[in-house]
């Protein structure tokens, strides 16, 4: 059964995805131009992953809770506000390529080359959707086409893609780059952004019967081992500057984000190096709550932080936070299963980061102020506040690893499930028990006090079924699906029991 907070996070993400296209309320961030880690594309991508994990681990028999929101995220991902930054970014810059002699000719298409910070997410989002819903809408030709029709200035743009064509484009860039990865901004291969297409390759294997993930994992490990970068204790690099052949150091911020996703396909490595990567950046308060040391989050190892000495620590409160480090550490802890530290960080968040409820949804509102007057970390940016806190509360230990390695088989989609349910209802439980031939649902109004609901139960099993409401006989039904109409004004249990109807 979901907790109130877990249900609240799902509701908030669904609320965000239900906003009209072009309405980015709650989702705007400090940085202009969709450059920072709270850019729309990262929020949209992680919303899909968080909702996907919630569906897979908590509400496997309620696809209707997640499907529309994930579709909306994939649709919004293809809006110009999300990817339009690439035209500017594609020309490169001396800050990211100091040896650049002349800016490159720009291009609009955000998928065709580089920009894995966009295409890698679109790839993983579409793949996860297909795996979780056995739905091929993004696999059909043109299923992920990106269009923009300007009103006054500029040309019509249409970039025709589907899941497999994006998969091919990313795969061949990986091959061409010796499996070090694909660049985000030109000349910059960030490790974290290349973890998401690793998920996408696996999802492609599951959906299309290819065998890319094994090759990708072997190639990626070898490529980075050849650079002595993924087979030793300590922090992982943040990125490779390709032309300069320079590895830019990482630290707990990048290790946590990279490790949280890499854990799915490279679990032993992430577990082996966990102690040397993030824990030194944790700060335990007298009340037992845990937050982060800002200077320890900067690039560098635990040893280099120690060497910097206590003088540096005195300046910590002067640091202006700007990146979603709190959220990525939450993600990382949830995947690695360190519940104790995770709870202590949530205790800090709930005490100092203004948890807020709106339309039945729980989030931590953006707060650009780094510390309160007592020196408690209060900074929240939208990726953490809207998404990553929810991701971590909804994930389970090894959660992404399990989805990656042990996805549902076809039999899952033939089981009884809640196929349609009003948006206004929260679903707290949705699970089919094969031993008892029983679908168990728990529902409650999310926003209004009362919901006149139409529910559709799919795959009830062919024979007669009995429906119980709060343990008492409610109705019976049979067929390919059963439609229920009922008023729900409080938390309500429904059970569909196969083979027991008259």
């Amino acid at each position: 059964m979901l907790t109130d907070k877990q249900a609240g996070h799902i509701r908030h993400m669904r609320n965000l995805m239900a906003q009209p296209d072009g309405d980015w309320s709650h989702m705007d961030s400090m940085e202009a131009g969709q450059e920072g880690l709270s850019s729309y594309r990262y929020q949209l991508g992680h919303i899909v992953y968080a909702l996907g994990l919630a569906h897979f681990h908590h509400l496997p028999a309620a696809p209707c809770v997640f499907k529309e929101a994930m579709q909306a995220a994939i649709r919004k991902m293809r809006r110009r506000e999300v990817w339009g930054y690439w035209y500017e970014a594609s020309q490169s810059d001396k800050r990211i390529d100091p040896d650049l002699e002349e800016r490159r000719e720009q291009w609009h298409d955000p998928v065709v080359k580089e920009n894995i910070m966009y295409s890698g997410h679109l790839h993983a989002m579409a793949g996860m959707y297909g795996v979780l819903f056995d739905d091929d809408r993004y696999e059909r030709e043109g299923g992920l086409t990106i269009r923009h029709s300007p009103l006054f200035v500029g040309e019509e743009m249409e970039f025709s893609y589907d899941f497999s064509s994006i998969n091919d484009i990313i795969y061949w860039q990986m091959v061409e780059n010796g499996w070090l990865g694909v660049a985000c901004e030109p000349n910059c291969i960030f490790l974290v952004c290349n973890q998401f297409p690793m998920l996408g390759f696996r999802f492609h294997d599951i959906r299309k019967g290819t065998s890319i993930a094994e090759e990708a994992a072997a190639g990626y490990r070898q490529a980075w081992q050849d650079r002595d970068a993924l087979d030793r204790p300590g922090t992982m690099p943040m990125m490779l500057m390709v032309r300069q052949n320079v590895l830019v150091p990482g630290g707990p911020a990048t290790d946590s984000h990279t490790g949280a996703i890499m854990h799915a396909w490279n679990r032993d490595f992430v577990r082996e190096h966990r102690q040397s990567q993030v824990y030194h950046a944790l700060k335990t308060a007298e009340d037992g709550t845990v937050s982060l040391r800002p200077l320890a989050m900067l690039p560098g190892t635990a040893e280099s932080y120690e060497e910097a000495g206590k003088d540096a620590a005195l300046d910590e409160l002067a640091v202006q936070w700007s990146t979603p480090d709190f959220g990525t550490v939450l993600m990382w802890l949830s995947e690695l299963g360190d519940s104790e530290t995770l709870f202590a960080m949530f205790a800090h968040a709930d005490k100092y980061m203004n948890p807020s409820w709106e339309k039945g949804g729980l989030y931590y509102p953006r707060n650009d102020r780094s510390y309160d007057e007592e020196g408690n970390l209060t900074f929240v940016e939208p990726l953490t506040g809207n998404v990553l806190a929810g991701y971590a509360r909804l994930n389970v230990p090894d959660g992404l690893w399990k989805l990656y390695n042990h996805p549902w088989g076809k039999e899952h989609f033939r089981q009884p499930h809640l196929a349609e349910c009003p948006f206004e209802l929260d679903v707290l439980q949705a699970r089919y028990d094969e031993q008892q031939n029983m679908l168990s649902l728990t529902l409650r109004p999310a926003i209004e006090e009362k919901v006149d609901a139409r529910l559709l139960l799919a795959n009830p099993g062919g024979g007669p079924c009995e429906i119980l409401r709060d343990g008492k006989a409610f109705t019976t039904g049979e067929g390919d699906s059963i439609e229920l109409r009922l008023t729900i004004d409080a938390q309500t249990d429904l059970q569909l029991v196969q083979g027991s109807g008259s």
Binding site: D109, S160, D168, I169, W172, V175, E176, G178, W179, A218
Partner: protein, 171 residues
């Protein structure tokens, strides 16, 4: 639909010193591997595995021309390639050429290759490179590619499946 194109025309020299292009191999499938004769690990292992897979095909292997394309034209002359291949991997024909021509072919096949110092040979250099094998159809159009994680038996099965496909699906 935006898609990735693999392969293309080329003009190189085979290990007999004869000028060849993609047209020279039309009518048979081509199994192409990129490497260099100073390679200590990847190439010997791959050429052995690919040769074993072709052995497993029996007579069907006659439908496939194995090609070994160098990424190291400085050292891999036709004679060097012939000496490298003819005893240990005689099924393969080596292809070399000018640096621009080979770079163009590498680009067309999305081949990764770079030049780095060789700690074991201060006078020389090493060339880490990708290890895919490419199957081109009898019209020299891309058909499939195979990673080095595929063992000889599985590779033979995969090649057999491609050879069995009807001609109209070629290309």
């Amino acid at each position: 639909m935006n898609s990735v194109r693999i392969g293309g025309d080329f003009a190189l020299t085979d290990h007999f010193g004869k000028a060849v292009t993609q047209a020279s191999y039309r009518g048979r499938f081509a199994l192409i591997f990129f490497g260099f004769t100073h390679c200590k690990m990847v190439c010997p292992r791959a050429l052995t595995r690919l040769s074993e897979a072709l052995d497993l095909l029996g007579e069907q292997a006659a439908a496939i021309q194995p090609l070994y394309v160098t990424i190291d034209p400085e050292r891999d002359t036709p004679d060097v390639m012939r000496a490298f291949l003819e005893d240990r991997w005689p099924r393969f024909t080596g292809l070399t050429g000018s640096k621009p021509d080979l770079e163009a072919m590498r680009t067309a096949f999305k081949v990764f290759a770079t030049r780095v110092a060789d700690p074991g040979d201060p006078e020389g250099y090493d060339m880490p490179h990708s290890s895919l094998a490419y199957l081109m159809d009898p019209q020299f159009q891309y058909r499939a590619h195979y990673p080095d994680t595929l063992d000889a038996a599985r590779l033979a099965d995969a090649l057999r499946a491609e050879l069995a496909k009807p001609a109209e699906s070629t290309g």
